[in-house]
């Protein structure tokens, strides 16, 4: 919106500025804000199992979204079509991207595949509905965007043309989401076969009036050349691999065969780099814009028209769109109050738990202290007894010694008495 204002300003007042104002800095500000906010992107992959979808995702984003411990959905056999979502946070150069990969295991794998596209359509519609409801709320502080921005459809490399299932699926989804068809496992085809196959597919796509994602033309001539080159290569023939192999001294990602190495990032071998550049480096924002401005608006007008036209809502909506703002505010207030109550209850719970814990700890330390007290007392008593014993022994010894001394004394006395007697006897004579 800000950029539009700037353009209008320039149109009406084509004046040269007499000095540096500084609004040229605006893109930087927008950029900095976006970087702080981070980006979101939702990518859906659809195709039969065994076409290398998981490997391609791992190769595109250079992460092991699907690894041996958490194998891709294809490795787990499914009986019905499921829609599974995995989120991963990718950081690069200070920019943060919340990437959501939506996978559809079981698609096209059963014997009877009628309506196997229905779960996919339901998923896309439900995400649009969530966004519509979030947009219609009175309090729109947080509006997470989980809409599917791009759907990569994997075509099996038969070399002949599209299968009835491919045509049906693309026909039903081309006006709900950006569909980008890819030729999977393109290392099956020789370059000539690949060219013929691509031509055949584009012919059939035009025949059945399928609207695949169109790359927008830009004013820049160079960019246009690039865009035209991409358009000529549609549908892109890709090969995926995360195994690094050494070729002529260079380390490349590829697939090793007895007759050579098919390099993933070699433009002459497959269109993987084109896909990656297009998807991530140049057109990611455009995919989001088209989703928002075209597919989502289509959904929204269809949904709202269904409600207002009939008066009765034929679709399964939450009915938030038909009420007056006041009623909606009341509803939101109620929701908020309930949320608060719940949080309160939770906090009380947590508090009680903590109190219990503390009490238990105190009791434990009390018991410990008691124990130690007991032990010290016992130690003391033991020492006391020991001392008593020693004292007794000592007393005994003393008594003995005294007894002995007395005897000695007595002896000495006796001895002196007899000497006296003898002396007396001696003097008379």
């Amino acid at each position: 919106i800000v950029c539009v204002c700037v353009c209008v300003f320039i149109y009406f007042q084509q004046r040269n500025l007499e000095g540096y104002v500084g609004f040229a800095n605006l893109p930087n500000q927008v950029y900095r804000k976006s970087v702080k906010r981070g980006f979101e992107f939702t990518l859906m992959v659809v195709g039969e199992s065994g076409l290398g979808k998981s490997t391609l995702i791992n190769s595109l984003f250079l992460t092991d979204l699907y690894s041996k411990d958490y194998p891709g959905p294809s490795q787990r056999i499914k009986k019905t079509v499921q829609v599974e979502q995995s989120k991963v946070l990718v950081k690069e150069g200070g920019v943060q991207l919340t990437l959501t990969i939506v996978d559809t295991p079981g698609f096209g794998d059963a014997v009877d595949n009628s309506n196997c596209w229905q779960p996919v359509i339901n998923y896309i519609d439900s995400k649009c509905e969530d966004f519509l409801n979030a947009e219609s709320r009175v309090n729109r502080r947080s509006m997470p965007d989980n809409r599917v921005h791009c759907c990569l459809y994997f075509i099996a490399p038969s070399g002949h043309g599209l299968k009835p299932l491919d045509i049906e699926f693309m026909k039903r989804l081309h006006d709900k989401v950006n569909v980008i068809p890819l030729i999977a496992k393109a290392d099956t085809l020789t370059p000539e076969e690949c060219q013929l196959f691509k031509k055949q597919i584009m012919k059939e796509i035009q025949e059945h009036k399928i609207k695949i994602y169109e790359f927008p033309d830009t004013e820049d001539a160079d960019d246009n050349k690039l865009v035209r080159k991409i358009k000529e290569k549609m549908p892109l023939a890709v090969v995926g691999s995360n195994v690094v192999i050494e070729v002529n001294g260079k380390k490349v990602r590829g697939r090793q065969y007895p007759w050579g190495v098919a390099e993933v990032e070699n433009g002459e071998h497959c269109d993987f780099t084109v896909l990656r550049n297009m998807l991530i480096r140049t057109h990611m924002q455009d995919l989001k814009d088209v989703t928002n401005n075209v597919h989502y608006e289509n959904y929204r007008s269809r949904k709202l028209a269904a409600v207002t036209c009939n008066g009765v809502d034929t679709t399964k909506s939450k009915g938030q769109l038909t009420r007056s703002p006041l009623a909606q505010m009341e509803e939101e207030r109620r929701e908020h109050v309930m949320k608060m109550k719940k949080m309160e209850a939770e906090m009380e719970q947590v508090f009680e738990m903590k109190v219990k814990e503390k009490k238990q700890k105190l009791r434990d330390s009390e018991a410990e202290l008691e124990r130690r007290h007991e032990q010290m007392k016992r130690n003391l008593e033991a020492q006391y007894k020991e001392l008593e014993e020693k004292k007794r022994v000592h007393e005994d010894e003393k008594a003995n010694w005294e007894a002995q001394q007395r005897i000695l004394e007595q002896q000495k006395l006796d001895a002196s008495k007899t000497m006296e007697k003898n002396k007396k006897k001696g003097k008379i004579f």
Partner: protein, 320 residues
């Protein structure tokens, strides 16, 4: 010197019993023989190319004039094309039965039924000829001797359709599963895939040719065991020639190398060809005639009290 079995006495002088082999050979060469092969699999798996490569000539339905980019038919069709090939004085009437539309629809329930019907129709034709009062000297044999089933090289496991088809048809025809377009997989992926496929076949109780129960003696068993270990063969087909190391070889030229069809390090086409044509061709016909056909015949004769006009038919003179 000839030796009589049972009698235990050696003959004095050369009789010439062993020339019977030569006589048989001459007769066979004059008469030629029939071989009917059916190819089943999703479109785009290289069935026609493989058959052309196997018999080194343009024998598939595609070469017989059908356009390359014909639309996928709405229902399964059975198209049979016959050619007479000659090699070393031996004439073979090869009939390739193609099944376009198999597994290509959105709803593939019962897509095996037209195929099953066709196979049984051929047995019925043969049976009718056999019970006729005045029989032809050589009953034309249109029975399917071998059905090659093409497995999609997903690298994961068999698809439900594959298992359903093979379960239902392994008792009425010889099924040989092959992994089509195997240049999609690296060697490790191929080994893992084959192991998983073998395990799934075992778990489903599917007996593919060569069936274990029909091994006649130890020699057969050991030969067939080796083949069973290597099955399903991972094949690549091509009818274009390229120059590799001074030799002209059949192959596929990609930007990173040439896949040689007959190089055993690249794929198992040579093994399949040797197995199918050079060693087990006659055995395929015999198993079809002695076992699959007999099963069908017994079933037919037991229901509805048998065929008219003849009810008992003991002698089974095979005109192969």
């Amino acid at each position: 010197l000839a030796k009589m079995s049972g009698g235990g006495s050696t003959l004095l002088g050369y009789i010439g019993i062993d020339t019977i082999i030569e006589q048989m050979r001459k007769k066979t060469m004059k008469a030629g023989f029939d071989f009917n092969i059916m190819v089943v699999g999703n479109s785009g798996l290289g069935k026609s190319t493989l058959v052309n490569t196997l018999f080194k000539s343009q024998v598939s339905r595609r070469s017989a004039g059908w356009a390359r980019d014909e639309k996928i038919p709405k229902t399964i069709e059975i198209k049979a094309v016959s050619h007479v090939l000659e090699e070393g004085g031996v004439k073979m009437k090869l009939t390739v039965v193609d099944t376009p539309g198999f597994g290509d629809q959105i709803n593939n329930d019962n897509c095996w039924e037209p195929i099953s019907k066709y196979i049984n129709e051929q047995y019925e034709k043969f049976l009718k000829e056999e019970v006729n009062i005045t029989r032809k000297k050589r009953i034309p044999d249109t029975r399917v001797h071998c059905c090659i089933y093409f497995i999609t090289p997903t690298g994961h496991s068999l698809r439900s359709l594959d298992i359903e088809f093979m379960k239902r048809l392994s008792h009425s025809v010889n099924i040989i599963p092959v992994i089509a377009k195997s240049d999609t997989m690296t060697i490790e992926e191929r080994l893992e895939f084959k192991q998983r496929v073998r395990k799934e076949l075992e778990m489903g109780g599917i007996e593919v040719y060569p069936q274990k129960e029909f091994d006649e003696d130890m020699e057969d068993k050991s030969d067939n065991d080796k083949i069973r270990e290597a099955m399903p063969f991972a094949v690549v087909g091509s009818d274009k020639e390229y120059q590799v190391n001074g030799k002209r070889v059949l192959g596929r030229k990609t930007a990173w190398g040439i896949v040689e069809v007959e190089n055993p390090n690249h794929c198992e086409f040579a093994q399949l060809r040797d197995f199918l044509i050079r060693s087990h061709l006659q055995d395929l016909k015999e198993v079809t005639h002695n076992i699959h056909y007999e099963t069908y015949r017994a079933k037919r004769l037991n229901e509805n009290g048998g065929l008219h006009p003849i009810t008992c038919n003991d002698t089974q003179e095979s005109n192969l």
